[in-house]
């Protein structure tokens, strides 16, 4: 009958579509409202808003002939009108019933979307529950606990749909999820509504636009930017002032248009956050935890493609924080923390980036436990573990295979690990890090670019080819003239390195990494170094020429080349030719300036059996005396310094130098290792600065020979404390020295005699 009414009225697909969009939008708000209402059950305005949402859905169902949906929302409306009129007061049982209703409505909407009908499921149990609640009998229940305890732990509020017609049940069984297209439309519409809700008076002057159209516009703007770049190039040497002026205008208009179109694709992050109050509530209920969710900066805008991309990783992080971060209430109170844990989501702009933080005030990450777990899983060795800083240890949770194994299907698990979160975020050019304090809580910080489509880039040339480098990775440009390069670059075979303001910057020649035949202009002799940031490391990329900076339109590469991870995409230059965009991380890995991260090490562990073979490690090769050579891990070197012998002072029997507004004790490596230092006639002291226990100690060496990358074989019989193992460097077996015990001994001694505090 209802169907008949619908058809007789000429129920139109666009009206159904509108209904779906509108209802999804309303339901998202409803989730938020219901959760907020729990905190303040008497909030009149929210109650009216919730009532109106269900009322609207119910009212519209009649037109469209969705009878099942109408009957569910009808009982819901009844219950809500009693709540609104103060006849009933909200309690957790009623909230659960209402949330179950919202779920059922979503299910029916999904069904409508895929089959154009609300199906045969009638939800008698839900209707009974809502009716009961409206009659006040559910409200009498003092505690929700029994209801929850009886339900399966993971889905406490699930209502089993009952099917009228068993023959159709199979077809209906899998709940259909709204297509992403619709979802994004909903999100877009939601975004448009947000400010209105806040002010709730100003009339709605926004329109809904198909996201497909926005994408096409964005592509066209991309093309326009290219054409603009070409024209700019053609008119560069132009004398015709009218043409130059017009070009300038075109330039400005294009930039403004680009900015405008980009803005249309921006959505507040609140569009994906709106689901979290519900997620957090359901999850904390099922875990019997008390969690308060706080959202900061939900108006922060991001490109919609990025919004889509971070939705899942962010959801995982939120679930993870509720599940693993925030403790059970009894544990919290035992540690004199409030029962209720606080989970804060915070978003803010910084430069061309958006930072999103997921902060909990929970237990924090215990580095010891984490290490133990990683060792147990064979992800790292005991040896590696002992050398890791707390910060490094915390990042173990992003290793593949770390977070997945435990409680896979349950709460935050869902078969997805933190490594997937990390990968997904890195895929869109973002990064994630964790900062945790034991007992105080953890902060996950995601940093992502505002948009992916058009980026500022540095154009460089190497071996005659142009390449674009995203400017976000650019730290600085260094040009060393021939003379200077000789001094500052230590380039023996192996890995070249550049001294830059006292730091050692590993160098990577782009032509070498890309196996190009470099036409490096030897006669000019100058070296162009593009200093780049890859993860936590900086490195210098040696290129032939630095051309210019330009706004480039990022275009994807075909699948035949996607696997080449030194490239992030391609772009079309002003002359119409294609230039490849470098993937800075990929280049760094290919140039061995960052290790392939911990994950690659995990592979070699099992083969090594006892005598552990690490991956290649960057080593600083030092000369001691006439012929002795040792190596120290480059990672343990803070800086390289040179001091005049004259600047040497004594504090008691301890040689020191003044260094950075303080006093730095010195340690002669040769004597510490019992090696003949030879003649120390040099007027300058070559010093390797190493920090340990919060103090810097200068290690005086004979000479700094080279930086190289070698495989270090750990000596299981490590006879001397400070010798970590050995490596074959340039054909010679060389001891690899661990500076930490040496330095700690010195620092400990000095603290003991009061030379330093």
């Amino acid at each position: 009958m209802a169907q008949d009414l619908g058809e007789s009225q000429g129920q139109l697909p666009e009206e159904v579509n509108e209904f779906l969009v509108e209802s999804h939008e309303n339901l998202d708000r409803l989730d938020r409202d219901l959760v907020a209402l729990e905190a303040d059950p008497m909030d009149k305005e929210r109650l009216s808003s919730i009532f109106r949402t269900i009322h609207t859905i119910k009212g519209t169902c009649g037109f469209l002939g969705f009878q099942k949906l109408e009957s569910v929302t009808h009982v819901g409306e009844n219950l809500l009108s009693k709540l609104r009129d103060g006849e009933l007061i909200l309690n957790p049982a009623i909230t659960d019933a209402l949330l179950a209703m919202v779920d059922a409505v979503r299910e029916m909407l999904a069904r409508i979307e895929s089959t154009a009908s609300d199906g045969e499921v009638t939800y008698p149990e839900l209707i009974a529950r809502l009716t009961e609640a409206a009659a006040g009998s559910l409200s009498g229940t003092v505690a929700v606990a029994p209801v929850l305890a009886a339900a399966p732990a993971d889905e406490p509020t699930k209502v089993e749909p009952v099917v009228d017609n068993p023959s159709q049940s199979e077809a209906l069984a899998p709940p259909v999820v709204a297509t992403s297209d619709l979802a994004s439309k909903v999100a877009a519409a939601d975004a448009a509504k947000e400010p209105i809700e806040a002010k709730s008076v100003i009339s709605d002057s926004s329109v809904r636009v198909d996201v497909g159209l926005l994408d096409r516009l964005m592509n066209l703007v991309g093309e326009l930017v290219l054409a603009r770049n070409q024209i700019l190039q053609h008119t560069a040497g132009e004398a015709n002032s009218a043409l130059v002026a017009t070009t300038q205008r075109l330039n400005l208009i294009t930039s403004e248009l680009q900015e405008g179109v980009m803005k249309t694709r921006m959505q507040p992050i609140g569009t994906i956050w709106s689901k979290f109050p519900r997620v957090v509530r359901d999850l904390s209920q099922s875990l019997s935890k008390h969690v308060r969710l706080e959202l900061e900066g939900k108006e922060t805008e991001l490109d919609r493609t990025i919004i889509e991309a971070i939705k899942d990783p962010l959801t995982h992080l939120v679930r993870n924080s509720v599940d693993h971060g925030i403790e059970m209430p009894e544990i919290r109170s035992a540690n004199s923390k409030p029962d209720e844990g606080i989970l804060t989501l915070s978003a803010y702009h910084e430069g061309g980036y958006v930072n999103i933080e997921v902060i909990d005030d929970g237990a924090g990450i215990d580095p010891l436990k984490l290490k133990a777990k990683a060792i147990e899983k064979g992800l790292i060795t005991v040896e590696q573990a002992s050398k890791m800083s707390d910060r490094e240890v915390q990042h173990l949770i992003f290793m593949p295979g770390f977070s997945t194994a435990e409680k896979v299907t349950n709460v935050s698990g869902r078969g997805v690990g933190m490594d997937v979160v990390k990968t997904n975020i890195e895929r869109i050019g973002g990064s994630i890090e964790v900062n945790s304090e034991l007992g105080k809580g953890s902060t996950f910080k995601i940093r992502i670019p505002l948009t992916l489509a058009i980026i500022p880039a540095l154009i460089i040339k190497s071996a005659g080819e142009r390449f674009a480098i995203p400017q976000v990775s650019l730290v600085e440009l260094v040009r060393l003239e021939a003379e200077q390069a000789k001094v500052d670059i230590d380039a023996v075979d192996g890995a070249p390195v550049c001294r830059l303001r006292g730091h050692l910057l590993p160098l990577v020649k782009l032509s070498e990494v890309l196996k190009l035949e470099s036409e490096l202009v030897e006669d000019e002799g100058a070296t162009n170094i593009v200093v780049l940031q890859a993860d936590h490391r900086q490195f210098g990329l040696v290129v032939d020429h630095v051309v210019d900076t330009e706004e480039i339109v990022v275009k994807p590469l075909g699948k035949q080349i996607k696997s080449v991870n030194t490239f992030a995409g391609a772009t079309i230059m002003g002359d119409g030719r294609v230039a490849l965009i470098l993937d800075v991380m990929g280049v760094a890995k290919a140039g061995h300036v960052v290790s392939e991260s911990l994950d690659s090490r995990s592979g070699s562990v099992s083969e090594s059996r006892g005598d552990y073979v690490a991956d290649k490690e960057a080593l600083l090769l030092l000369g001691l005396g006439h012929s002795a050579r040792v190596a120290v891990p480059l990672a343990s070197v803070d800086r390289l310094e040179e001091f005049e012998t004259d600047s040497l002072e004594w504090a008691g029997s301890q040689p020191v130098v003044q260094y950075r507004n303080g006093i730095m004790p010195l340690l002669w490596l040769a004597s510490a290792l019992g090696v003949d230092a030879g003649d120390a006639s040099d007027s300058k002291l070559q010093v390797v600065v190493h920090s340990s226990l919060g103090r810097s100690v200068g290690i005086v060496v004979g000479s700094i020979l080279d930086i190289t990358e070698e495989q270090v074989t750990l000596d299981p019989y490590g006879s001397r404390d400070a010798i970590r193992g050995s490596a074959v460097i340039q054909g010679k077996v060389t001891d690899v020295v661990d500076l930490t015990p040496l330095v700690e001994a010195v620092v400990g001694e000095l603290v003991g005699v009061g030379v330093i505090e």
């Binding site: 592509n219 196996k515 590469l557 075909g558 490849l580």
Partner: protein, 159 residues
């Protein structure tokens, strides 16, 4: 040679039998090859190509096709032949995930062939070529090899 005209002729013939299939033909070394015209987006002259370092040797480079980045594949290499002797032509193929260009020595005519004369690849075709070919048409004096696009476009990194 002029593919545009050939296509236009084909479209004007309303009574095209279902069994008839048009092939865009081309030459690669000694081979006479063809792909179904539906799979061909366009044929363009040699474009300015940007090489892609570290990619498979089968990737000759990438070109700008009206704002779209298209990968150009070295079909001679695919067939185990030596390098191109003259600037190759691009046959732009409509692939599932965007156009891909096949570099060929020379473009032939569009031919209309009866599917009933389509045959399995004979033993005489060398093994490497046979793998990339789905079947043949025996024409007067020459053999037209039908290129298997899936194989020609997709390849493992090791290839």
């Amino acid at each position: 040679m002029n593919i545009g005209n050939a296509l236009a002729v084909g479209e004007n013939e309303h009574e095209v039998s279902l069994k008839v299939q048009q092939y865009c033909t081309f030459f690669l070394g000694d081979l006479y090859l063809g792909v179904a015209v539906e799979d061909v987006q366009e044929v363009i002259r040699q474009q300015e190509m940007t090489p892609v370092p570290l990619s498979s040797p089968l990737v000759k480079g990438i070109v700008n096709l009206r704002g779209q980045i298209v990968t150009a594949l070295d079909l001679r290499h695919r067939f185990g032949m030596s390098a191109y002797e003259k600037p190759p032509m691009n046959i732009v193929i409509r692939a599932d995930d965007g156009p891909v260009s096949l570099l060929v020595d020379e473009i032939g005519d569009v031919v209309e062939l009866d599917q009933s004369s389509y045959e399995a690849t004979p033993e005489t075709v060398d093994k490497l070529s046979a793998e990339l070919v789905t079947g043949v048409f025996k024409l007067q004096g020459k053999l037209l090899l039908v290129l298997g696009l899936d194989k020609a476009i997709q390849f493992s990194e090791a290839a």
